[in-house]
Symmetry: C2
DNA sequence: CGTTTTCTGGAAAACGTTTTCCTTATCATA
DNA sequence: TATGATAAGGAAAACGTTTTCCAGAAAACG
């Protein structure tokens, strides 16, 4: 393995000089730079990032934390979008590769997590879909031992940023459009997780809307589960004239139930996943660009690593009517 | 940051002794072990894997290479299955973190890849969906600089294993069952990628079957593309009485086309993806357990890293009739 | 012409481990 | 009792960088 040492010898300079060239230090003459670069070329030198990390105490390693519950459902495309978005952006930034973790977040304690990340020399955490019960993770974040970017959860600190769409407004807007268009009066709202941040925000949007329109909205907790939404629909849809779901997966569950019951009710979703295009007719929904969200999260992480303070970032969303033609590539 | 040095001092032993305890060396007395472990506990010592890697020249780092063409289609769940399967198994084995790469395999050259993996101190590559044109990657593999496990591509060497189902047999079996059950005579076969290994194997299965049944099978290259399969179906389905596709995504494309054309033809797929359950009626297909496949690939990588020679691993598949109820969780 | 400042580049410590030798001490064997 | 074998643990080099500090040369200044 050819090292910086060999390069130094071959170029007739000191080790430190090679390092300076490698890291684009200012105080190296053009001439020396050329010599060193020539030596690098000739010897086929490749810097060893492990050694660099050890020496500089900076690994640039970031972990992407995904909730294990999400991909039990294999059709859920959102985690993949996060991964693709994050990794690609990380590469663009020359940031060290992102490692993906599927943690049973609920089951780990702070100690264990800290130990793990520390031993892996991970400096930053991008956390997707944190909920209130994840106490250990909350503690970890508060400890400010790591830079943290939260996707879809609140929290700002010196080392903590968060990024998400305006869920309240999005739910309000899409539901309003949907309700007015369908002249719906008796809404069944299937909400997300109890204690989930986004769930509560979306619920808030529904409440605002209900008040504004003078409607009472019948709500059931669907837990972001397709199956649960299906059951709820089975049970309550007959007496309602429209169904609004806090996620597309639940909207799919609802639609499947309606088909089984052989009745028609308009359904409104949330997320804008491609699967919608396969599963049903066209449908009102909120389109979130998860890849973009993750890419922005990485950018935000980069900011934190440069020493900036945490902040809240709101990314835009779109109201769409999704259908098969939109998702086929 | 408390280091091995601090532990040594606190326990009143030498640095090397602590290291030996950490790595379960045999020649350490129980007494010393206890002292050291106590010190580790008291100081909250966490070993630094970066330093260990540098010193031992063993990182245990493995990269999972996924073809970028695959997840342009956001609904393709297979890459995610690979990721989950591989990462979870890696964790079980205590193997070092798996890094996920989305490569435009065709566009990379050997130098670039080698440099990248070398600089990241990556020792093993799990490659998914290699095809014949990927010359650079082929060179890289032949160079035997890295341990390689190929998923769905042939190749065995001292440092190279491969793992896959028996594609020929699977295609033969599922097609036979499908054809006999539907009493089909005029088959349209939509094949995978030209020059793709699995595509050719599956094609081989079809040929065997055609010969055996005395049928001529009309084949078109679908390139594993839903859209392409849709077009092919539009063009040729009328004159055929059944459609067999080399992948479920293409089967979905075909079914969508049939709906648009308002004609019925039985369709046979391959892969057993959950999306099938959402997109259509029930359908014959071959179920591959991609998570398991990836997990086995990681096991195989572990074997290679222990110094064993490469080998070919065939994993089992299942013939199934997939439907919505099977995939909803 | 002497003095200070600015530029370059080198020497060496440091990062936190692993690993290879050595040195004792203990023990069994002849 | 002498001799070798074995067990336990220590000292120090090595891994490949970064980074701090220092030295010398050249340039700028008065």
């Amino acid at each position: 393995m050819v090292s910086i040492k060999d390069v130094a010898k071959h170029a007739g300079v000191a080790i430190s000089t090679v390092s300076k060239v490698l890291n684009h230090y200012p105080n190296v003459s053009e001439e020396t730079k050329k010599k060193v670069n020539a030596a690098i070329q000739e010897l086929g030198f490749v810097p060893n990032s492990i050694a660099a990390a050890l020496s500089s105490k900076q690994t640039g390693r970031v972990a992407l934390l995904l909730d294990v519950n999400r991909h039990v459902q294999t059709v859920d495309e959102i985690p993949m979008q996060y991964i693709v978005g994050a990794i690609n952006r990380a590469k663009e930034l020359g940031m060290d590769v992102i490692t993906v973790f599927f943690t049973m977040i609920q089951e780990m304690d702070v100690e264990e997590m800290t130990r793990y990340f520390q031993s892996q020399s991970i400096e930053g955490l991008i956390v997707c879909g944190l909920s209130k019960q994840d106490t250990a993770l909350h503690k970890l974040i508060k400890s400010e031992r790591f830079k943290v970017v939260l996707i879809d959860a609140p929290g700002v600190g010196v080392h903590t940023s968060n990024i998400h769409i305006d869920n309240t407004k999005a739910q309000y807007d899409v539901a309003k459009k949907f309700i007015l268009e369908n002249k719906a009066k008796k809404i069944l709202y299937i909400s997300g997780k109890k204690n989930g941040y986004v769930s509560e925000e979306r619920m808030q949007g529904m409440k605002q809307l209900a008040e504004e329109l003078g409607l009472t909205i019948f709500t059931r907790v669907g837990n972001f589960s397709e199956l649960e939404a299906r059951k709820i629909t089975m049970q309550y849809a007959k007496k309602r004239d429209a169904i609004i779901c806090a996620s597309d997966m639940m909207a799919i569950g609802a639609m499947k139930a309606l088909i089984d019951m052989d009745i028609y009710r308009p359904v409104c979703g949330f997320d804008g996943i491609s699967l919608m295009g396969y599963a049903g007719k066209q449908m009102h929904t909120v389109r979130q660009d998860f890849k973009y969200l993750a890419a922005e999260a990485v950018d935000e992480m980069a900011r934190l690593m440069e020493g900036h303070e945490g902040q809240e970032v709101i990314v835009p969303h779109q109201l769409i009517r999704i259908k098969y033609e939109d998702v086929i590539s």
